[in-house]
Amino acid sequence: MSEPQADVTVVKSPVYLKYRFTAGSAPARFLGRLKEGVLTGQRCPRCSNVYIPARGSCPACGVPTEKEVVLSDKGTVQSFTIVSIPIPGNPIEPPYIVANIVPDGANISFIHLLSECVNEEVHIGQRVQALWKPAAEWGYSMDNIRYFRPLDEPDVAVDRIGKLPVTGLES
């Protein structure tokens, strides 16, 4: 006779569901251009703001956005954090910088990695540019941009962040 086993109090219950996800038409267009190494946004017909990545609507106005706008891969740091814990499923080693970056020509930031910099010297208003992976590795992913890195350009005043044209500081 084996030892009497303890009562069951905890069970492992696998709940795995399979899905086939299809990107919406606006995100699909964005990703399609990203695969060509081009960052694009969409302009709201009502408020004229440019959104990246486009979701198909201007969230502020609630109207469809259809006009595609090519953006620069240069941008400005709107804010950032230095992260000391790994991202699940991402090989990057801590500490690394996650920044809210507004690309020139857009009016909204997205989150991406910032590297090739002294962590302590990163600051709001800093100019940065995308470092792309080799074109052969491009897919339908923001990972085509390995990370952003500092640009040797003057800082952007806080009240101008998110308002630069696609030509950046030169205009």
């Binding site: 069970v11 219950s13 709940v15 569901l17 399979k18 899905y19 086939r20 996800f21 299809t22 990107a23 919406g24 038409s25 606006a26 995100p27 699909a28 979701r55 198909g56 609507s57 201007c58 969230p59 502020a60 106005c61 609630g62 109207v63 469809p64």
Partner: protein, 352 residues
Amino acid sequence: MREIAVVAYSQSPCVADAGATNEVELIMPQLQAVYSQLGLASAQDVDFVCSGSCDYLQGAAFAFVAGVDALGAVPPIKESHVEMDAAWALYEAILKIRMGHADSALIYGFGKSSPGELPIVLSQRLDPYYLAPLWLDTVSLAALQARLLLEQGLLTEHDMAAVVARSRHNALANPLAQLAGEFSVEELLAEEHFVAPLRRADCSPVSDGAAAMVIATVEQARAWGAPYARITGIDHRIENHNPCLRDLTDSVSTRQAAAAAGVHRGPVDVAEVYAPFSHQEILLSRALELAPETLVNPGGGVLAGNLMMASGLARVGEVFRRIINGEAGRGVAHATSGPCLQHNLVAVLEGA
């Protein structure tokens, strides 16, 4: 209590796969449609917004958050969400109007079920210890119910096929339907069983889409000048979760909700019944005590297209349409939720 009316309604076509259309892209056309029925510019022109959706349909947490991007919620709006069919969002909005915190409300529901295997996704709605780990799908559960009805002599497979034939026929006049056509009962009965005793045609299809509605106080409805239908009663009740602990040959909660909503206070010209399976339309019509002359699911019902999370709201919308078109004076809308008709909502609509 304040008198509340449905003033605008729109529903997308029911499609098997909306493909490259995300939540926002599904919702926005329906919102634009109800705005245009009333001459509104955006959700800013109503006092409250409430939506219904389910994260698990497409497998993404917070799917409803993306829905807010369709609203134009700048400046911020009064907004809420139920993880239920949007018929319950309608219920929440009615309470908000009754308490005087709103005179009008926008309600919408959306579902993109095509990315997953819906009957299996919904198996995980069963209790997590005894039934969910068996992956008891919703079609099989309904089939167990159908056999109980059949073997107790409460209906026949012929009756079920007649429901399907009428749905397919009615859907011919419904441009939003997914399944329509002329079929004889004999043709339908000649089909093989899918999950016996159910045939595929006994089961509603899986559809992607969205629906939107605007309700308001009768005073506001008159101010907008659009035709409206008064909601003269609404109630919903839930039953035991475990289907084995319920009488599956009846729907007690539908009876309770119908009585409380005042269904029997007058003749019912039209009834929109949320019956995802043919036998359930018969069962629910009995629970609602519908008279033989009541027109049931004149647009084909959900057997012709089932927008999970929006079909309940759509039933209310369909009754509204019939009333403002002058086809009916008084109608009943029914919505269901949970395994095998666990939870049922009944609304009564009447002409202005």
